[in-house]
């Protein structure tokens, strides 16, 4: 309790900068009001508990009030809830158990009457006190005693040794030997062991600058970025996949995260200045970057996209607020070293960050999107996948698009010209072809006769075929690919077109609803799905000549996405088809067919009733439930019932029913043509040759008037009508067009990342400020907060207005050279990764509750130098590594057990990546290739950085060896020593495999047993064995069998020294 009260007082102190009243008010408040609030109220209405949403530890809190409204109306005690409650006059009696004294209650009333004065008792409040918010100084380098000075190598040592001297820790200040040093610095910078050759080169290089050259070589190695990139990836909760259930198979996953990982690695290898490194991750998509870096800018924003938030299957508002919270949390902790996200629900309890600051910043991220949309209700959202195009790619695409347009035009023009000729021919020749086709049809047309007839009568075979086709009802391809257990669902059958899916027909043969993708299939239902270029039709081919009544219903089974569909019910009979009913149906809706006006008509045997389902603009979510009944005089047919009653057939045909893919949409016939076709059909039933000829010519004339349809196909297939010798040029154009289209449609590369504007078609679309979410709840909104950045953090010329989302300004603000946190936080992290602990041992909390720096002057020295020298990591590394402090031996001091004064280099253990990489390196199998998608194959020889991290999966090697948990920013990994790690090293086939390969390497060396043992030792530990170690080895390898050597090599992997760095 006392500590809580104290915290509340401190908070009250800085939260109360609003109202510095006159001195007597201040005295009144401090002597009579604050004690009451602190002692009687704030235990329930303060920083620890916030009962009823009310906080009485700041003037803001008092004025804002709680769930039942403002606690006071300044100047009007009698109307103020707070006064009423302490007077215990009304329904609300406070404090609940022990009433205030009359005097205390009267004081509070007086305080309200005075309009709630709340002075600050400390000018500036703790914000000004917090060390990390003060400007970075460039402190003087401390002088050293001559003894200490002789050991110092650069200014770092002055800062470190001065403190050690002051603490009386003056000896030993031993330097590490060269074997130790090269192993230390090689693992430190590359995460890999030095090879025996590298060790020899360093040991034998007695020239000055050998160590510096070693550092330069390591910093220039591509392995450096793979090592240090991983440190950054820990901080930004990097994963390759969100969830094992969808890994790599759904755009709900972060499919392109690996590009961000590769960018981080390459940025570090290129020594991209840290300020730019940060700016690109916050706002790379909107920064004015040179053309060559534009795609990198997009990829870098992947940091914002790979966040950890609930999937949001039902509550989309919560999803969006969680995403923003994740983004503020990760940037706050990793870049600023502040836990900003606490202020989502309440003013920060310990740091000078208010809820207002939080929502002012939240507006920036609410005006940014990383999702394509919020996703369907029952499922998570698809991630935004931003196509990546370099300027060269863009130029190429524009050029291709231009050429495609030109070729399209050319093609269309040649076809139009050709059509004019063809139509002319149609007028003169169609009648003869129709008559010939009639004769052939009557005499059972077979191919041979067709050829003969064509030759004999000098007919055009293509046109003749078109005429024959016109006698048949319209038609397409029966869906011929039958599939069971669709999407793994027993009882779900599908029939698909030969070449594409969709079009398709899907039947739920079970008595239960089946859900798949975003679709819900009711029990015993049948649906169809049109394709991108083709329609789908349910067809009833009449087995009778009768009058029939048609009724039915089409309904969208996939209301979660798409844009609805269209249908056309038509009759196909010899001589053409006609529409009986058609409509477009909006997404999620249904249409009744044959209501209210019944559809009745006569059909002949072979006539087709076709229910055609077509896409609208978009086809991908058009699963359409089909019910269709056809009642004749004697009997009736019910599509779904008939379909489900039968054994599922291998191709989509059941009794008179079939489902077909229809190519294109037949142009509706003109009225004269329809009439002419009807007359022609009628004439064909009689044997009056003259009438037949007349009717045929009428058809030819009307068809020619109508542009050729249905005898000439639409333009896209017109080329078939052109004799091949005339088609060469056309085919060339067509081929060229196809090639261009193919290139344009080729899979693009994408990045997961951020773009301007809130999530499209969500309430946050566009750029805008947001309201305070009271207690973090989006359904309880407070004041609108203009976008800005925490004012308590002072930088020179802070941005005044934001453009767009404000991310660009935020990025600039974060990386102002005089930002007090950004440089301190990052140099501390670099120090931490070199020494195991930072100068601030709470590396992501530079706030009130973080630890203060052990060496504040050194921290500022490094931060100032880092910024001055262009935010260069490599310069900073080199500066630190060249210090004598870094080169000390690992010999802990009794006086400083936690090594806070750094009188010794801390012994530490290899992280999981370095352990696995070392096994592969010893085996001689390590593949250091950089980049590309992560692999799920644990046995892959690639560096461990490239093994897949799946956020939902904490099993396996990585987590067992303390890999960072990707659900939150990790600044320091835990170190565990447990039996399952031992079991892994003892029994896992991967370890045994590497031991075998290591042994093979050792055996291949030749030489004596001692030579081989020495080589093995040098590979594993970077140094030759002692005599005692040799004798342990000899006992194992005695006999010299391959198995014995494998045992020894395996044992070296298990040894403490293999994983311990000094």
């Amino acid at each position: 309790m006392p500590r809580f009260v104290l915290a509340a007082v401190v908070l009250a102190a800085f939260a109360a900068r609003l109202n510095a009243g006159p001195t007597d008010d201040a005295a009144f408040f401090e002597s009579r009001i604050r004690p009451v609030l602190v002692e009687k109220c704030q235990s329930c209405h303060g920083s620890i508990k916030v009962k009823g949403g009310l906080r009485l530890d700041s003037r803001d809190g008092v004025l804002r009030g709680g769930d039942t409204g403002p606690a006071v109306i300044p100047g009007d005690p009698d109307a103020s809830l707070l006064v009423k409650a302490v007077r215990r006059a009304g329904h609300l009696k406070m404090p609940p158990k022990q009433p205030l004294t009359d005097r205390e209650a009267a004081d509070l009333a007086e305080w309200v009457r005075k309009k709630v004065p709340w002075p600050s008792d400390k000018a500036g409040g703790p914000a000004a006190e917090l060390w990390s918010l003060k400007p970075v100084a460039d402190p003087a380098v401390p002088a050293l005693s001559p003894a200490s000075r002789s050991g110092a190598n650069n200014a770092i040592d002055n800062f470190i040794f001065a403190k050690l001297d002051a603490a009386g820790i003056t000896t030993p200040r031993a330097a590490a030997d060269r074997h130790t040093l090269i192993r230390r610095v090689t693992f430190d910078l590359t995460g890999l062991p030095p090879t025996p050759e590298e060790v020899d080169a360093f040991i034998n290089d007695s020239s000055p600058g050998a160590y510096e050259r070693l550092i330069d070589r390591l910093l220039a190695s591509p392995a450096y970025g793979q090592r240090w990139g991983r440190h950054w990836l820990d901080l930004v909760r990097y994963c390759d996949s969100f969830d094992a259930r969808i890994t790599g198979t759904s755009d709900m996953d972060c499919l392109d995260a690996w590009r961000y990982r590769d960018w981080v690695v390459s940025a570090l290898n290129r020594d991209l200045p840290y300020d730019k490194f940060v700016r690109m991750q916050i706002a790379g998509d909107v920064l004015p970057l040179p053309d060559a870096e534009k795609t990198d800018g997009i990829i870098a924003t992947g940091m914002l996209a790979i966040g950890n938030w609930g999937g949001g299957d039902a509550d989309k508002d919560k999803l969006l607020t969680d995403i923003v919270d994740d983004q503020i949390d990760v940037v706050g902790r990793s870049v600023l070293g502040l836990t900003l996200a606490c202020a989502r629900c309440h003013d920060h309890k310990f740091d000078p960050v208010t809820t207002a600051d939080y929502y002012a910043l939240a507006g920036v991220f609410f005006s940014t999107h990383i999702l394509a949309n919020v996703g369907p209700k029952t499922n998570g959202p698809p991630m935004l996948r931003i196509p990546l195009e370099s300027p060269v790619d863009v130029a190429r695409r524009l050029d291709l698009e231009d050429r495609a347009r030109a070729l399209d035009k050319k093609f269309a023009e040649s076809l139009a010209a050709r059509r004019v000729t063809l139509v002319k021919r149609l007028r003169s020749e169609l009648a003869a072809h129709l008559l010939a086709a009639h004769d052939l049809a009557e005499n059972a047309a077979d191919r041979a006769k067709l050829a003969d007839a064509t030759a004999a009568r000098k007919l055009d075979p293509v046109l003749l075929k078109a005429c024959l086709d016109s006698f048949r009802p319209t038609g397409g391809e029966v869906l011929g690919r039958h599939e069971t257990k669709v999407h793994g669902k027993p009882g779900l059958h599908a029939w698909r077109a030969a070449k594409s899916d969709p079009p398709s027909l899907v039947a739920n043969t079970t008595a239960a609803e089946i859900r798949f993708l975003t679709i819900r299939m009711p029990p015993r239902a049948v649906s169809v799905h049109p394709g991108p270029a083709t329609d789908v039709a349910v067809i009833w081919t009449s087995p009778v000549a009768d009058e029939v009544t048609i009724a039915g219903r089409v309904s969208d089974f996939d209301p979660n996405c798409g844009d609805g569909f269209a249908y056309d019910l038509r009759l196909g009979s010899p001589g053409g088809s006609r529409s009986l009913s058609s409509a477009t149906v909006d997404n999620g809706k249904a249409a009744e067919i044959g209501k209210p006006t019944a559809i009745k008509l006569h059909v002949a045997v072979g006539d087709r009733i076709e229910l055609v389902v077509k896409r609208r603009a978009e086809y991908s979510c058009d699963t359409t439930g089909v019910e269709l009944t056809i009642r004749g005089t004697g009997r009736s047919w019910d599509f779904a019932a008939d379909w489900l009653a039968a054994e599922p057939p291998p191709s989509a045909r059941v009794g008179p029913w079939s489902a077909e893919e229809l190519i294109g949409t037949t142009t509706p016939l003109t009225a004269p043509l329809r009439q002419a076709l009807a007359d022609w059909a009628e004439a064909r039933r009689h044997s009056d040759r003259e009438r037949l000829a007349r009717a045929a010519q009428a058809v030819a004339d009307s068809a020619a008037d109508a542009g050729g349809s249905p005898f000439l196909p639409p333009d896209d297939r017109l080329a078939e009508f052109i004799p091949s010798e005339e088609r060469i040029e056309l085919d060339r154009v067509r081929g060229e067009l196809a090639a261009i289209r193919k290139e344009l449609a080729a899979p693009k590369t994408f990045a997961n990342g951020a773009q301007e504007g809130g999530v499209p078609s969500s309430p946050h679309a566009g750029t805008h400020d947001v309201r305070v979410h009271l207690r973090g709840r989006y359904d309880r909104l407070g004041d609108l907060m203009p976008r800005r950045f925490p004012e308590v953090i002072r930088v020179s010329s802070p941005p005044v207005n934001v453009s767009g989302s404000g991310r660009k300004e935020f990025a600039d603000w974060l990386t102002r050279p005089d930002h007090p946190l950004t440089s301190r936080v990052i140099v501390n992290r670099v120090w931490q990764h070199h020494f195991g602990e930072g100068l601030v041992r709470t590396p992501s909390n530079f706030g009130t509750l973080g630890e203060p720096p052990t060496h504040p002057e050194l921290l500022d020295h490094l931060a100032a130098k880092f910024v001055r020298e262009g935010w260069s990591f490599k310069k900073l590394h080199k500066y630190i590594l060249l210090s004598a402090t870094y080169r000390q031996a690992s010999s802990p001091h009794v006086k400083d057990p936690d090594n806070r004064l750094l009188g010794s280099f801390p012994r530490h253990r290899l992280e999981s990546e370095a352990v696995r990489d070392s096994l592969l390196a010893a085996a001689g199998k390590l593949d250091v290739k950089a980049g590309g998608p992560a692999t799920r194959d644990f046995h892959s020889p690639r560096r461990t950085l490239y093994l897949m991290t799946i956020r939902s999966d904490r099993t396996g090697f990585g987590p067992l060896f303390d890999v960072a948990d990707s659900t939150a920013p990790v600044d320091k990994r835990t170190v565990s020593t447990v039996a399952p790690q031992a079991l892994f090293l003892m029994n896992h086939p991967f370890v045994k495999e590497q031991a075998k390969a290591f042994a093979a390497r050792v055996l291949a060396r030749g030489g004596t047993e001692a030579d081989r043992l020495t080589f093995a030792h040098r590979v594993a530990f970077g140094r030759p064995p002692t005599d005692e170690e040799l004798s342990v080895g000899r006992q194992i390898v005695a006999g010299g069998s391959r198995g014995a050597w494998e045992t020894w090599c395996h044992l070296l992997f298990e040894a403490n020294e293999f994983v311990v760095i000094e």
């Binding site: 836990t339 310990f350 819900r520 509750l849 530490h908 904490r954 099993t955 399952p980 403490n1056």
Partner: protein, 468 residues
């Protein structure tokens, strides 16, 4: 780089839940001989804040949100309103318009001495109602599976926080250091997976250990043999040579000892997980071998073997039946009439068997069994045969370890929508579970990033009314 923890921290050797050793284990050949000797070992048995009613927890988690109005909370009023809208406005959080009331298609009957209503779908569990403490007014805050599962397990809906099982290990340690202290048995991944049993910022020793392959529960186990023994002896010699001049570093000793424990675990752990050695009578009691119940029966039986051997918490997720494998098996947006009975049939006998078996072995009195999911389902219909997510009032039940038996607590309104009487928020449930385990939820804190964190955040009330 990660530093080796020094001195005081040296024995804080963290684990994926498995036992850790300090010098005690290094010196004692039997790791179980003297548990609790090493004050720095995170899994050392720690005294509770006050005498505990329960020593271990089995949490039966029906992933997806089981329908309270069809299982434990009958609402005859829904019949009067069948096909009609609710007579009051639904909270804004509800995204899907589930307007019309859907009375349960299943029959209820009163069971046990207290006459507690249980649906016909749970005939075996119904016979155990005198062991149950049914909570009918549970309230959660999140309507999405992920957020709700996270809250039910960690108290928090969005951020990474330690799970209930991790807090229990942190507060109490474990009784058998040859086994993980917190085991999660789930054949298929529930909701977002590992965050549900995460140690988060607590030491990694407190993370739940996932068993998803019931046939091969532990990784990297080989039968210990002579050759391996010889190898480990030589390894020990090499490590001792390396330790020279580094004697102060206890982590090096701990790592040496970890190989000895690992060697022993190869013998002991398979026995603990080995349900095959159970009698055929016991197997039959749970429904092992019956197609419908086999999977969940094995999960429950494994849970009993583990708590019997000192595992602190076992969480049993129902994520797989003989026909389906799903992260959200109980998520009946549709198919209520077919899927819900199937889920019940898969779990009813195993759950009743577990309760019977625990009781017969005298374990139920200090084992707390919890049944529930992340939320309930709307009394209103989604489509014609489904119900939507519903965190505003739903049912869970407890049994054993210190709670009243044959007792029902809390009510929803007459439609089964809002909890109206004796509400139990998730924080209250957590506070009560900790209380039963002898822990004060306000005192069980961990300092992280400068703040003291609790399972119950800043709320939670121990439900005194349900304590036996």
């Amino acid at each position: 780089m990660s530093p080796l923890p020094h001195r005081r921290h040296a024995l804080w050797s963290f684990a994926n839940g498995f036992g850790v050793l300090g010098l005690a284990a290094l010196l004692a050949e039997d790791g179980r001989g003297e548990p609790g000797r090493s004050p720095d070992d995170p899994l050392t048995i720690k005294p509770p804040h006050f005498p505990a009613k329960a020593k271990r927890v089995i949490f039966l988690f029906m992933s997806g949100g089981p329908s309270h109005v069809d299982l434990f909370d009958p609402k005859p009023k829904l019949k009067d309103y069948a096909g009609k809208p609710l007579p009051f406005e639904q909270p804004k959080l509800v995204r899907t318009r589930t307007v019309n009331c859907l009375p349960t298609p299943f029959k209820f009957a009163k069971h046990g001495a207290a006459g507690i209503d249980v649906s016909e779908l749970f005939p075996h569990v119904a016979r155990r109602t005198d062991d149950l403490c049914v909570l009918r007014g549970v309230v959660a805050d999140n309507i999405n599976h992920n957020g709700a599962c996270l809250q039910m397990n960690t108290g928090e809906q969005a951020f990474s926080r330690p799970s209930l099982g991790s807090w229990l290990l942190y507060g109490l340690g474990t009784e058998n250091r040859s086994l993980p202290g917190f085991v999660v048995i789930s054949p298929s991944q529930p909701a977002q997976g590992a965050p549900l049993w995460s140690n988060s910022f607590l030491p990694a020793a407190f993370q739940g250990t996932l068993v998803s392959n019931l046939a091969k529960p532990i990784e990297n186990i080989a039968p210990p043999d002579e050759a391996q023994r010889r190898e480990l002896d030589a390894l020990r010699k090499l490590n001792e040579l390396h330790r020279r001049g580094r004697e102060e570093d206890t982590l090096l000793s701990a790592r040496i000892a970890s190989y000895e424990l690992a060697f022993r675990m190869q013998r002991e752990a398979p026995e603990a997980f080995g349900i095959e050695s159970e009698s055929s009578k016991t197997k039959a009691l749970y429904g092992v071998g019956e197609p419908a119940t086999d999977i969940f029966a094995k999960q429950c039986l494994m849970a009993r073997r583990l708590v019997e051997r000192g595992v602190r918490m076992v969480q049993v997720y129902h994520t797989q039946t003989s026909k389906r494998s799903s992260c959200q098996l109980w998520d009946q947006h549709g198919g209520l009439r077919a899927e819900l009975p199937a889920n019940c049939a898969a779990t009813d006998k195993p759950i009743a068997g577990l309760l019977t078996d625990l009781k017969a072995r005298g374990l139920l009195k200090d084992t707390l069994v919890i049944w529930g999911g992340e939320f309930g389902r709307t009394p209103t219909a989604e489509g014609t045969d489904g119900r939507e997510h519903h965190p505003f009032g739903f049912t869970m039940w407890l049994a054993g370890g210190g709670v009243k038996s044959g007792f029902s607590y809390g009510e929803t309104d007459e439609f089964g929508w809002h909890a109206v009487k004796n509400k139990v928020h998730v924080h209250d449930l957590h506070a009560t579970i900790l209380h039963l385990m002898g822990l004060d939820h306000e005192k069980l804190t961990f300092r992280h990033a400068g703040r003291d964190y609790r399972l119950t955040d800043v709320s939670g009330r121990v439900l005194d009314e349900i304590l036996a």
